[in-house]
Assembly symmetry: D2
Homo-oligomer: 342 residues x 4
């Protein structure tokens, strides 16, 4: 860490910071500058907590040099983590995995239809919401346990794995009984209590990036899950907030490549929530794969106009099929393989 | 609601949307435009769910006309809600309430010292963290139940009410036993499960605005609490994310005035997290009161340089005293009264 | 346009707005809502100016239904515009055009080397800065007219077209004598005086999106150029501002696809400024092409470590070559053709 | 400056950076860290250009320690700059100056009426637009030279100084003949050619902060004007872009206090453009003054409902009067004086 002093800091201020550094067992290295003095901190293992120094008199800012995360970091674990699911699908390490299905689980027929064409198109995982985090208390909140049962049956009937969201401890305890992958949504990315809870499970976990989370905060959210004992984590970029209302969010495609560089964990994209516009889903799915991501999670519905929620961003079955064909061709260009169930 | 059709939408597309509106029991009012047709929806009580129409062929966008919240809305409840605490302090309706204390509860002496000068300066509520939501799993997470006991004792000894954060169902169940006000932090603003949970308590609840939440989403988060039965909700603006790293966040002072216009709930400001810089806390506290807010929640520590967390944004005791004196003078200009314990 | 009235608006307020609409020659269509009345405006050709109604008593907001731009709009001009350059290169309408070169023109050798490998790799246009808009007055501001001469010679020697930035009327008058394409930078996107000025030239113009410009504002900036008489405009997405300091900007890949849908103009991407990180340039170039853009403008330098500016984001020659090979393969998947000089 | 190396940087990479630092005449100070080496740069006067090091192999990032601006900096010029206008009004150094008037100059009667009540209420400067930078080429662009004449006459008749915007070199050359203060609008904050141009005038200049400009970029824009020879610069915060459409912009009140700390220049606020909502103008004006700003520039119109542009954010005459009375009372609390013409 580098501690930058204010221009008007006194020699005594500098000396006090140096003593504080020494008390922590580190070594201070003052660097006098044109208008300010900076003090390097040497001898630490891993990140130094900046809040211990920010409060001292004369300190202007504390600039971290080491990354604050460890277990998720590629510096500590250079080889790609490959998450393998019970049906043999793999995510990461050269394998591209496509997950598809409706926003919300509605009924048995819908899920069976969806599972059938998702599997036929080349998808490996069935998605669908049983517990829905909704901005308004008056919106449909999901069919809960019944939805989990319907979804598991549909996935099994077509050889797909199953992913669905948990919104609290109680729903997580239900979801883990049925799903192969537990999703933590963007709104819960910093629900640290929930992250620790799913960190104790023996199931893969998707950690979606929060709408205004930096890449560092996103990796630290994943770190909570690994730190609790679960290293089968998949990062998912799903769009960030911007000033432009044209698209619902801005899908941060570069974040896919950046996160893959900083971390060994597989990184997937959600072009449905990332744009909120059906016509943009396939172009963004192609872009995400071209940028090097390890998977896609996409909303598709047998009959979008009848969907209970978010029908406007769901692909029609034929669009889903076209999307998988196109991303497979782009994956080929990059030497990557579409991962299908055994 | 207004449904705007694409320029290339056909007459049949328009007719289909009109039929869908009628099926919901509303009345469609087509408005042909220069290049597009728009369709007004008439006859609804409250907000119409846009997702039911967005998926239909030819629909470009759905523009809500009514606000999606009800219970928090000033349109439905024109008179200011005043939240009164057990020690007689009032928030809202012309009363300005100052809450102060350290970021984290550290030990008995710290809390007693803090309570003493907060009360002497004109504060009415003692704040302090027992459960801390921290970005990194390796940062100090709070002293938990023991901190609650210490804090309650310190508050009682000095006639203060007590506010502290709950981060999940379990901590909320503990907090409610000790605190007069339960705080839901910015990172949990869309933890809807937690909002519903504290909505069942008979204690006041602060709902902090998420770092990238719109004012509408913030009001809808409060709506979750009221909808669950608890109408003693205080809104708290604590800074939003921006592109500028100079301040930790941008304290959205206008949001205080906007929220007070849209809602009858009291609205307070947190200038400590809103800026992250000690020197900015008092100017922003003054600004918030000048904009018409109903209260302040401010970090202050007997010895900021020794604070376990966030010492760099904690006011020194004398600064806290100066701040209260200045905001009281500004409140006088606006005809508002600093609310002190009985 | 739809005019939404406040909940507390009186019948007289509504009547006054209706009369104002009629005075403009349009027809008002009141739509009574659950809590508010909305008034549709019918009979207008093109966009209605909202500021004429926003000031009236009782008006809450004015929601545009028609887009405010015309000449750039695909609704008015459905077929793709193809910009053809003197060397035969084409941008748009199925042709992908790659532009490459250094951030700043430094000397003759640098430009000839750059032109040689850009052309050999499949590039069609040489880029380079003669007039540099720099955040600090103390940074290198470009070599001006001399740079234009060097660059033209290098481009001609290798069959490339030439693009460079103009920063004001005077530099535009110089640039137009040498360049085939005049670039308006992100910082000048709303320098309307400059847009009108280059709108009088008979040369192609790149309009870069401002760092915080909405897609609508970007299209309106292009509209200024077309309105002044120049319809050979190329839109360029170069990254928007976000809260995350990890990348310099967020390259808004979806904006490429959205802009191509709203406008007939060709749309290109600048992955160099869009990320500010050399390692991210090629993944983002691939993503932009996969999303369907019509071209790329990329910084590359014969020896990036010696560059006078922005060397950290310049591709090495071999990286530029690899990038062109990869984007060509992805263009093939989409049925698009890399456009090379005659 | 601190140069942070990548975790995988070799000893030779570190040595190469040290040699590059020495070649610039500075001294390198390597600081080995837990996972990375950082290299301090010592011996520089003022800021070091980071782009010279970012391109070197093994370099991860370059972190500036000194601020990149000089002339505007309080570190170099600790005493407040006070800008005095020909009518005796002062801005800065304990004087609060209120500027008011319509968005656009419309006709003689409007300007005389406005000048009369602005002066009577306690304003010192008349504002009004003769050259309007408009997002759409089809919006009203201002009455130009004729407007300047009308405005000057109205200001003189009531003892007010005059401020108006210049949008390019040509309009600046006209404006300087009439106005006492030349305004550079937010959209032109990084029109460096225009900044240099007005830097050669002997008139005060307002530099408005760009909608997505960091405070550092804003100060560097002012630095362009001072560097060209004009040190009578006034900084103006007018709202930044955010994700929330509720207010047109977010008025960054903290930026007022931050800029006053970093710079000796006076800092004023524009609550009209900063919110875009008439009802928010007065609360935000109060907040800006409470935060310690040196002035306000506010839109007000004799009859807002008839305004040619932006009538929805213009204060009614009586509201303007109330606003001045309230901000004067708040200025009193802070020991500041409302500056009125001689």
């Amino acid at each position: 860490m580098l501690i930058v002093m204010r221009a008007e800091a006194t020699d005594e201020d500098v000396a006090r910071v140096c003593r504080a550094i020494e008390r922590k067992g580190y070594e201070p290295r003052p660097i006098p500058g044109g208008t300010r003095t900076a003090i390097g901190v040497v001898g630490n293992k891993g990140a130094v907590d900046r809040s211990e120094f920010l409060g001292l008199p004369g300190v202007f800012e504390c600039i971290p040099v080491s990354a604050p995360y460890k277990l998720v970091s590629r510096e500590f674990h250079p080889v790609d983590t490959v998450v393998e699911l019970p049906n043999g699908a793999r995510i990461g390490g050269g394998y591209l995995c496509v997950m598809g299905g409706p926003c919300a689980v509605e009924d048995e027929a819908q899920m069976h239809e969806a599972a059938a064409y998702v599997a036929a198109a080349g998808g490996a995982v069935l998605r669908g919401g049983a517990y829905k985090p909704r901005t308004s208390p008056y919106s449909f909140q999901g069919h809960g346990p019944e939805a989990l049962r319907l979804m598991r049956a549909a996935a099994d009937a077509h050889g797909l794995a199953m992913v669905t969201e948990a919104v609290d401890h109680a729903s997580a305890d239900r979801v883990v009984e049925y799903a192969d992958v537990i999703q933590i949504g963007a709104r819960n990315m910093q629900n640290f209590s929930l992250l620790k809870h799913v960190g104790r499970f023996d199931k893969a976990v998707i950690v979606k990036r929060g709408m205004a989370a930096t890449i560092e905060e996103w990796l630290l959210a994943a770190e909570y899950v690994l730190d609790a004992g679960n290293d089968r984590v998949i990062l998912c970029e799903r769009g960030i907030r911007s000033f432009d209302p044209t698209t619902r969010n801005v899908l941060d495609i570069a974040a896919l490549a950046v996160a893959r560089g900083l971390s060994h964990l597989p990184v997937i994209a959600d072009p449905s929530h990332g744009t909120g516009l059906r016509d943009m889903v396939t172009p963004m799915a192609r872009a995400a794969v071209a940028a090097g991501c390890d998977g896609l999670i996409v909303e598709t519905h047998p009959r979008p106009a009848e969907a209970l929620s978010d029908g406007h961003q769901a692909l029609f079955p034929s669009q889903f099929e076209d999307m998988v064909r196109e991303v497979r061709a782009i994956a080929d260009v990059l030497g990557r393989t579409l991962s299908v169930p055994r």
